[in-house]
């Protein structure tokens, strides 16, 4: 899926936003969509239920133009978070170059976060991808909610970030941390594209 083509100087990466239902994956994409100049983005495909839950997946193609001489394209996908869309999650995860795990910072959502993270690992394994080497960043979303409702970044680290991957506190609805997260995963993916062994030993 991922490609660095030196002949045509093109880079193409597929990034999947993963996480439990209602954690804010689609919101991330919406914010990115809103900020990217029109000529740089394709049509955002979003298949949602009447209650606005992602039914199938969201897809946002970004053509970032020439970066350092490379025509760079990012394809952003989200998976439906609800547990019963397992087959779709597997499908979307195929060929992913990097994964953003969007966790819901609310304390009462901790179990869903952990379950979804385990689900991610299992699905990556099923795809023949080594969960330890796939570029991954965590986003702790909804950090804008009252402190008594949410877990701190440190506590979330303790609970979810056992691999010590880059993580970003975010308020996706207002765009806080959205681009930082995207940049974080994009850098990891590029690093891995450049040197699979090095990225793999991360």
């Amino acid at each position: 899926m991922s490609l660095v083509n030196y002949a045509t100087r093109e880079i193409t990466c597929k990034i999947v936003y993963y996480g439990p239902g209602r954690s804010g994956k689609t919101t991330n994409l919406h914010y990115v969509y809103g900020q990217v100049p029109d000529e740089r983005k394709g049509k955002m495909v979003s298949l949602a239920t009447q209650t606005d839950r992602t039914l199938f997946f969201d897809f946002l193609p970004l053509d970032l133009g020439t970066i350092s001489g490379f025509t760079t394209r990012l394809q952003l996908y989200t998976v439906p978070g609800q547990v019963y869309y397992q087959a779709t999650r597997k499908l979307v995860l195929q060929g992913a170059d990097g994964v953003v795990f969007v966790a819901d910072s609310q304390a009462r959502q901790l179990d869903e976060n952990i379950e979804s993270l385990q689900d991610l690992h299992a699905n990556l394994g099923n795809q023949g991808m080594d969960p330890r080497t796939v570029p991954l960043v965590l986003q702790y979303n909804k950090q804008d909610l009252p402190h008594d409702m949410i877990m701190s970044v440190d506590d979330l680290d303790e609970a979810l970030n056992f691999r010590g991957v880059p993580r970003f506190a975010a308020d996706a609805l207002h765009g806080v941390g959205v681009f930082e997260t995207l940049r974080g995963i994009a850098e990891l993916v590029l690093k891995r594209l450049a040197s699979p062994a090095e990225a793999g030993s991360r």
Partner: protein, 637 residues
């Protein structure tokens, strides 16, 4: 053209969009001809290409004052060439350029439609690159987009490092403007420089023009420039509905892009840079780097590290081959093939040939000829097969395995086949005819001398391999393994293999099954103990050689003696000939009886019924066994 002393590396503001180009330029200035050659920098007008060229020239001169550095624009090059042609001084013009150490050629996009200059530049390129001189080119577009550019020039332009420069990001623009203000010793009110940096300009040059205008306005005493006044002062650009901002609401997006640009430059292009760097390094050392260049040209799927490692291994092998080949054939010294990793296969073949020539395989014994090999019912099948092989080597019976007890003539027939093959080919065929124990000893000696390749080479190039007493391979491992590969190589090449054995191949249980099955795959023929007719022929031949003509009765009686081997028959013949000498050429049946007595009074070398002991035959006994160390090496390897 003189270099602009203000355009140096320390006056060039580095940002994400030009970091790679600046790094490459600096590397080139520090070691011209070694790092990236040619270095091709492309960027839209006004982003600092000429500045970088000048910076390279000045740093290179600063580090090595003796360097001949020339900066020239393509238009000037065209002009100078025309003048030289007009004055008839083309050669002097070429000579002058050929003596340069660093050529800095600006704006090569203007080569479009100038075929004559392109040809001249191609010639110059070849001269400079051959002598390791540095070439740096700039253009407003990549080589592939320069119209009417000669393919050969395009390949050369793309053969080093191609690097582009983008428009500077906001922070870099601010830094450029601040530096310009410092140079001019002007201080603006807070926010002015930042506001100018937010205005959209086509390039840095235009932006510098704008700040120049503001500097002029401020220093001419028209009052301090204010943030609000900028739009009015910059005319259309400032008034067109207010300055267009590069970073309006989407500042985040631009920052994201800027960060990504750094990552791409750092991670993705770094791979290419490493590849290019190594390619240049190998090329500097004189090696052909076509494989690496192809990787650079094509979509990158291979791991550059693996690619470089493979290339290094090939270079190591090239060096080994060069050493060996030159030692064997000094006339090969300096061959360009030793610098071409793609010529390894050819060189391996050459080395093998030279190895083989330096020690030809053992030939057949010229004294054991086919004409002296008597034929009877007991050996006629083997002889017919041998004759068929001589007629069509490698075609009909391959391999041919001749087995039989000791002394029945296997060795004679084997050498006879070898001699016939040599004769039939007019001496063109290379025949290896060797006793199996000698074959083992040669291999052990080769292992001891680390000359296994040479040993292999001398056998692999033979047209026919004839091995006597193949059963002597019993108990060896390496020999059987080497023989297996040699056998396969020769069979695949359609070369003839003939083997002799004291036993039928299927009974050689101490040999690898893979070998036995291959022996059985050709023709297996047995030579029986000599029949009566053959015995008569052999005795008669010995007597005829001594000038004795026996009566039929005597010959008949002699042939009736017990003679399990052909050699016994020859001995009887010899003995009778001696007797004939003492009885003036006359032989009687009584003489034959005396021969019997003689035979019976001496130990008789006879085969056991199974015929499986070579030790009963002095000639077939191996007296020179390899020493202990040799055996150990054989076993261990």
């Amino acid at each position: 053209m003189p270099l602009d002393p203000r355009s140096r590396f320390d006056t060039f503001v580095v940002g994400a969009a030009n970091r790679l180009a600046v790094s490459a330029a600096r590397a080139v200035a520090q070691s011209p001809g070694a790092a990236y050659n040619p270095l091709f920098i492309y960027a839209p007008s006004g982003l600092g290409k000429t500045h970088l060229l000048s910076a390279i020239g000045q740093l290179a001169k600063q580090l090595q004052p003796d360097l001949q550095v020339e900066y020239i624009t393509t238009d000037e090059l065209v002009e100078q060439l025309h003048q030289a042609v007009t004055r008839g001084e083309t050669e002097a013009f070429r000579q002058r350029l050929a003596e340069l150490d660093v050529l800095l050629l600006d704006d090569v996009q203007f080569l479009t439609g100038r075929q004559e200059t392109q040809s001249e530049l191609l010639r110059l390129f070849n001269v400079l690159q051959r002598s390791g001189k540095q070439i740096v080119l700039t253009s407003d577009r990549p080589p592939a987009e320069i119209a009417d550019l000669d393919d050969r020039l395009m390949t050369r332009f793309s053969g080093g490092l191609l690097v582009d420069m983008g428009a500077p990001d906001y922070e870099t623009r601010v830094a450029i403007l601040r530096r310009r203000c410092d140079e001019r010793d002007v201080t603006f009110a807070p926010g002015v420089v930042e506001e100018v940096a937010r205005v959209v300009f086509a390039n840095v040059r235009e932006m510098q023009g704008a700040i120049n205008r503001l500097i002029a306005f401020q220093t001419l005493g028209e009052g301090d420039v204010t943030v609000e006044g900028i739009r009015g002062l910059l005319g259309d650009r400032g008034n067109g509905g207010g300055p267009q901002r590069l970073t309006p609401k989407s500042g985040e997006y631009e920052s994201f892009l800027s960060g990504l640009a750094v990552a791409v430059a750092q991670h993705i292009d770094a791979r290419r840079v490493k590849l290019v760097e190594s390619t240049a390094e190998w090329r500097t050392q004189g090696y052909r780097t076509a494989a690496l260049e192809r990787a650079l040209q094509s979509a990158e799927t291979a791991d550059p590290d693996a690619l470089l490692k493979e290339f290094e291994e090939k270079v190591t092998r090239l060096r080994e081959l060069e050493q060996e080949i030159v030692a064997l054939d000094p006339s090969q010294r300096g061959s360009v093939q030793f610098r071409d990793p793609e010529a390894i296969e050819d060189l391996e073949r050459l080395a093998e040939m030279l190895r083989a020539e330096s020690s030809p395989p053992p030939p057949p014994d010229a004294s054991l000829v086919r004409a002296e090999f008597e034929v009877g019912p007991s050996n006629q099948l083997a002889v017919h097969a041998a004759d068929a092989i001589v007629e069509e080597p490698g075609v009909r019976y391959n391999p041919l395995v001749i087995h039989g007890g000791p002394g029945v003539g296997k060795t004679h027939l084997l050498h006879a086949i070898g001699n016939e093959l040599v004769a039939a080919s007019g001496g063109a065929m290379t025949i290896a005819c060797v006793n199996a124990s000698d074959f083992v000893n040669e291999l052990i000696a080769a292992l001891q001398d680390s000359a296994i390749e040479t040993w292999r080479g001398r056998y692999r190039r033979v047209d026919a391999l004839l091995i006597d007493q193949i059963e002597m391979f019993a108990g060896t491992e390496r020999t059987q393994d080497e023989f297996f590969h040699l056998f396969n190589t020769l069979m695949e090449a359609g070369k003839q293999v003939v083997l002799t054995s004291s036993r039928a191949p299927r009974t050689l249980t101490e040999m690898d099954e893979r070998l036995r099955s291959r022996f059985e795959g050709g023709l297996v023929v047995e030579i029986q103990p000599p029949d009566r007719l053959l015995r008569e022929k052999l005795i008669a031949r010995q007597l005829a050689a001594a000038g004795v003509t026996p009566t039929p009765d005597v010959l008949h009686a002699a042939a009736g003696l017990e003679m399990p081997t052909a050699r016994d028959a020859l001995r009887v013949g010899e003995r009778l000939a001696e007797m004939a000498m003492h009885s003036r050429g006359r032989l009687t049946s009584a003489d034959v009886s005396r021969v019997t007595a003689v035979r019976r009074s001496t130990p008789v070398h006879r085969a056991t019924p199974s015929g499986d002991t070579p030790f009963g035959d002095r000639e077939k006994t191996v007296w020179d066994w390899p020493d202990l160390s040799g055996r150990i090496i054989e076993d261990l390897r």
